[in-house]
Amino acid sequence: MNSFSTSDFRRLVTDYLGMAVALAALITVFSLSTEHFFSATTFRTIANQIPSVLLISVGMTYVLVIAEIDLSVGSVLGLCSAVLGVALTKWGWPLWLALPAALGAGLASGAFNGLVSLRWRLPSFIVTLGMLEMARGGAHAVTKSQTQYIGAAIEGIAGASVFGLSLPFLLAIVIVVVAQLVLSRTVFGRYMVAVGTNEEAVRLSGIDPRPIKLAVFLITGFLVALAAIIDTSRFQSANPNAGTGFELQAIAAAVIGGTSLMGGRGSIVSTFFGVLIIAVLNSGLAAVGARDETKRLITGAVIVVAVIVDHYRHRLAKGKGT
């Protein structure tokens, strides 16, 4: 709550320098190689596409910080979307009832992940892998595998915009800021980092790690449900296959941003950069019209190079020591 000091500023620069450089390099390359890439439209387009991935990546970063993992995010997005779509179309529920139902589905999935892995002390990898299958099965069962067209009833959510930026984007930005502050400035955030660093030491300090972990799984479930609502509104339809492969995308975004898979380290702002890098890359490659295999080769290489750049940023920040 103090004034912003110079050391804070220096940390901001060194923390995000690597990411920012990688991002700027990507934008430059694409701007030079295409005609219209460097334009407000492109950035508005990207801004309107990333909210759902961003929210999921925020959740994933939290989960990774406590040294767990959630592979079910993509499927749970599909499930929440399915519930929302079917509630609005087949069951004829009003929006104010359907939205909580979708959020409930997300929270319930998060609760399952958290409770089962805590109760039996199972690795969350396996529990959420099970959930990945089950939630997708659920999404198909609820929709009978049919994409549900909803139409204008849900358009309002993603359609509303301020200065050309959509409501979901603004919401996502707010959530990024809040999530970062919670992580770095609150008791809960500190506990998360502590649990991810050394759970046993935390337990022996008289702090029960389980409610913290459960809360993180619940938060993730909630964010995934939000992402599902946004996507459903954007496509005006609920697709039971929605979110396929999002788990790897979200993990990649978090890890590109420097979050450790071993827990105890992570930053939401860095994850935001990670999401941006991937989004700019996808958008730029599509604008260039690259062949599919070229896209994959470049995407793979960029992921690796982005982390290598970040490695050197770390060295820089640390100075000659070590």
Binding site: M1, N2, R185, T186, V187, F188, R190, Y191, V193, A194, T197, N198, E200, A201, V202, R203, L204, S205, G206, I207, D208, G264, R265, G321
Partner: protein, 528 residues
């Protein structure tokens, strides 16, 4: 007597991390001597040792081994040249067996296929030498207590032939019988011509076994003296750079002055303090068999015993860290047992447990000193239900760091970068920060230097004076004798005897500590 030739000479060694750690250190080591290295926490002893053992590279300065330039590329290179080190921090690999850990670099094999029988017999022989003959070499490291782990590390160190052996605080977690056996081993090695660098904060040991003593202060080599030419008080004065505060040895009968307790205004209390904690019939597996005791307010209760006698397990069980098989814990003379099933319950009831293994169970190594210090009372340092007041956090944390004289250059430094003793101070401060009524300290002074020990004893005494119940588990019997009002002696998972101040003698306590094992002549050893 002519000066024996130097085996290892070091001149002008410099090393710095965020600040200078070693400045212009020169040093020489002769074959067949035990050379003690002493200094305060953070003085640079471990760093110097690591440089000699090839783990850290100096920035300036040179080393010569047997007259040849010596610049080890890495640990392996150093070992090839006959230089070995047993590290201060435990560095065993939890998932390996004891035998594998001892012989990790030279597992006996044929075309890569391990000869398990030979490994087993070799390991048994080596364990015998450090007094762990009863330990099954195929047990996993993670099932051992800290003391046993330390002995396994020592066994691994001395099982190799080498010319220079560095022992960095080998006895910090050992009790007297193990220490005696270690000294016997050291004597043997020394007779065979091995030069030994011995680091310890237990001054009486140093005077017993060292031939020469070198004193480091703030990264500078202050003096090197022959052991017979120096007194304890002088060593301490050189280490600290000033006279220690006027210690009032009110209870220090029979204890060398340098480690007696400066108890200030604290008089021996009578036993009318109210009972704060009563434990009845505590059992857990084979380590704790029917333990009952009580701790009074305003008193310091010590727990003595041999290694593996079950002290740590007792404390963990009563704290709720491990599941109890049986037993109840009563608080404040209450007739109903307190519901303590987890450390969280324990802390809520006002208990604190400082664990013996700081690295695995006490600290968040990659996090800052500040985050470690304030972990337990973040709630008090926050407002709006969880927003940390960072300015307040900073001032509080720095106050505690100062109180325990933690040597660091910033509170944002990672705890992993601190010296061993300073890490221990951080763990202690963490618990003191949270105002608990019953404090259990398991090996609180492990690796802490003489000066800081005084301060910690003083702190413990103050806490008792404030009406808290303090329990201290320690392998250092002299420490307990100086500090405690009452000592419980554990043997083979039971409390063999309890003495009040004045009733005890060192012999009585040792006899009680052995009693549990003597009854089982058939096994004739420490039960696992």
């Amino acid at each position: 007597m002519p000066e024996p030739a130097s085996l290892l000479t070091i001149s002008g060694l410099c090393k710095s991390y965020a600040g200078p750690v070693l400045s212009d250190v020169s040093f020489d080591l002769r074959s067949g001597e035990v050379h003690a290295l002493v200094g305060e926490n953070g003085a640079g002893k471990s760093t110097l040792s690591k440089i000699i053992a090839g783990l850290v590279r100096p920035e300036a300065g040179g080393m010569e081994l047997r007259g040849e330039a010596y610049q080890p590329r890495d640990k392996k290179d150093a070992e090839r040249r006959g230089v070995r080190m047993v590290m201060q921090e435990l560095n065993l690999i939890a998932n390996l067996t004891v035998a594998e850990s001892i012989f990790i670099e030279r597992l006996p094999h044929r075309f890569g296929w391990i000869n398990r029988r030979q490994l087993h017999t070799d390991a048994q022989k080596t364990l015998q030498e450090v007094g762990l003959g009863d330990l099954d070499p195929s047990r996993q490291i993670k099932t051992l207590g800290v003391g046993q782990q330390q002995l396994v590390e020592i066994a691994a160190g001395i099982s190799h032939r080498c010319d220079v052996l560095i022992l960095d605080e080998p006895t910090a977690a050992l009790t007297d019988p193990e220490i005696e056996r270690l000294f016997a081993q050291i004597a043997k090695l020394r007779a065979a011509g091995t030069a030994i660098i011995y680091i310890s904060h237990r001054m009486e040991e140093i005077l017993r076994i060292a031939d020469r003593i070198s004193i480091l202060r703030d990264g500078r080599m202050i003096a090197t003296r022959a052991a017979q030419d120096i007194t304890l008080d002088e060593i301490v004065r050189l280490m600290v750079g000033r006279e220690l505060g006027q210690a009032i040895h009110r209870r220090g009968a029979g204890v060398p002055p340098a480690i007696s307790v400066p108890l200030g205004n604290r008089d021996g209390l009578s036993d009318d303090g109210a009972v704060a904690l009563r434990v009845r019939g505590l059992r857990r597996g084979s380590a704790v068999k029917d333990v009952s005791f009580e701790a009074r307010r305003g008193e310091i209760l010590g727990f003595a015993g041999l290694m593996g006698s079950g002290r740590t397990e007792t404390m963990r069980a009563l704290f709720g860290a491990d599941r109890r098989d049986a037993g109840e814990v009563f608080l404040d003379e209450s007739a109903t047992p307190a519901a303590i099933h987890s450390p969280r319950d324990a802390v809520r009831h006002g208990l604190a447990l400082l664990t013996e293994d700081r690295k695995e169970q006490g600290l968040l190594l990659p996090l800052s000193i500040r985050a470690n210090l304030t972990l337990l009372c973040l709630r008090q340092l926050s407002r709006f239900g969880g927003w940390i007041r960072s300015a307040k956090e900073r001032t509080e944390a720095s106050a505690w760091a100062k109180k325990l004289s933690v040597r660091c250059h910033s509170l944002d430094q990672r705890v992993a970068e601190l010296s061993g003793g300073n890490q221990q101070k951080v763990v202690i401060a963490k618990w003191l920060f949270r105002d608990c009524r019953i404090l259990i300290f398991d090996e609180p002074t492990r690796g802490i230097d003489v000066g800081a020990k005084f301060e910690i004893y003083q702190l413990l005494a103050d806490l008792a004076d404030q009406g808290k119940a303090v329990i201290v588990v320690s392998s250092d019997l002299k420490e307990l004798l100086a500090l405690c009002d009452c000592i419980a002696v554990m043997s083979a998972g039971r409390i063999a005897a309890t003495f009040r101040r004045g009733e005890w003698t060192q012999d009585k306590i040792m006899a009680a500590a052995l009693s549990g094992y003597l009854q089982k002549q058939g096994r004739g050893g420490i039960e696992n």
